[in-house]
């Protein structure tokens, strides 16, 4: 049954991706890409990676939708028709996909107990976390305590990016208004 649910979700994701390819109205494409993120979040939930799923939903369906809509407000709402069929991008995509699928052949199967992720340091972390930090959730302890500086750096990067985007969007809108006032 697990496999069946995964298959249905994958089928819907493929359908959505094909719809995004065929669509020329960019607003519909934005909504469809939000749906695509939600579907992949569902897939992560069925794989028990709930935190990854939540990040995917927040970034893919939340922030990306808003940013894409903001970009659409500044540019065009329709995609131009491609002038001619270009084989090189298709080739690059197919080759990259084939290499990625080839890469998964080496990976341990889902949930196997002797995969490197289970045997290496995970056991030590599980053992030491309650003693070292006193935080009941091990993932939180690793993120905020053992790798605190790492997380701090990531937060600074994301914050800087957000400030930059806000300045870009706000600055563009204001400049456009000033130009309009000048010409009117």
């Amino acid at each position: 049954m697990d496999v069946l649910i995964n298959l249905v979700l994958f089928g819907m994701m493929v359908t959505t991706a094909l719809a995004i390819l065929r669509m020329r109205r960019l607003f519909a494409v934005v909504m469809l890409s939000g749906v695509f993120s939600l579907l992949s979040a569902l897939l992560f939930v069925t794989l028990d990676a709930v935190d990854v799923a939540f990040t995917e939903a927040a970034v893919g369906a939340g922030i990306s939708t808003v940013l894409l809509l903001g970009t659409m407000a500044l540019t065009s709402r329709k995609e131009k028709m491609p002038r001619k069929f270009s084989p090189i991008p298709l080739l690059v995509v197919v080759v990259t996909g084939a290499v990625l699928i080839y890469g998964t052949l080496d990976m341990p199967s889902f949930g196997s107990a002797d995969s490197p992720a289970q045997t290496h340091v995970a056991a030590q972390y599980l053992e030491r976390t309650p003693k070292d930090t006193g935080v009941p959730n091990v993932v939180t302890a690793i993120l905020a305590s053992y790798r605190g500086y790492d997380t701090f750096g990531e937060t600074v990067v994301v914050f800087t990016a957000a400030v930059g985007v806000l300045i870009l969007i706000g600055g563009f809108a204001r400049r456009r208004d000033e130009e309009e006032e000048g010409t009117d």
Partner: protein, 107 residues
Amino acid sequence: MFLVATIALFIGMCLVLARLYAGPSLYDRVLAGNAFGTYTVLFIGVLGFLMGRPEFLDIALLYALINFVGTIAVLKYFRYRSIGDTSPTPYGEPTPVGKLKDRGARS
């Protein structure tokens, strides 16, 4: 029983996807996107019970929040024609629907 609910949710998702692809007006698509978010919330809840892990219900609540904020952002885009700056129309005065198309075509 949860299996039947899951199948019903899948059928509903397919219908919503079809509306999102075909929907003639923008508002059909906004509504379809919002409905798909709701289906996500429901599916995570049902999946929790189906897999014997009812604590997924808490996660489903978070998805409801994301869906709400996303829909608000899309509707705000329609009202003010931009996300970061709301100066084109003052607060409390929505752009008339007839004008929306002109503004969209210009920007």
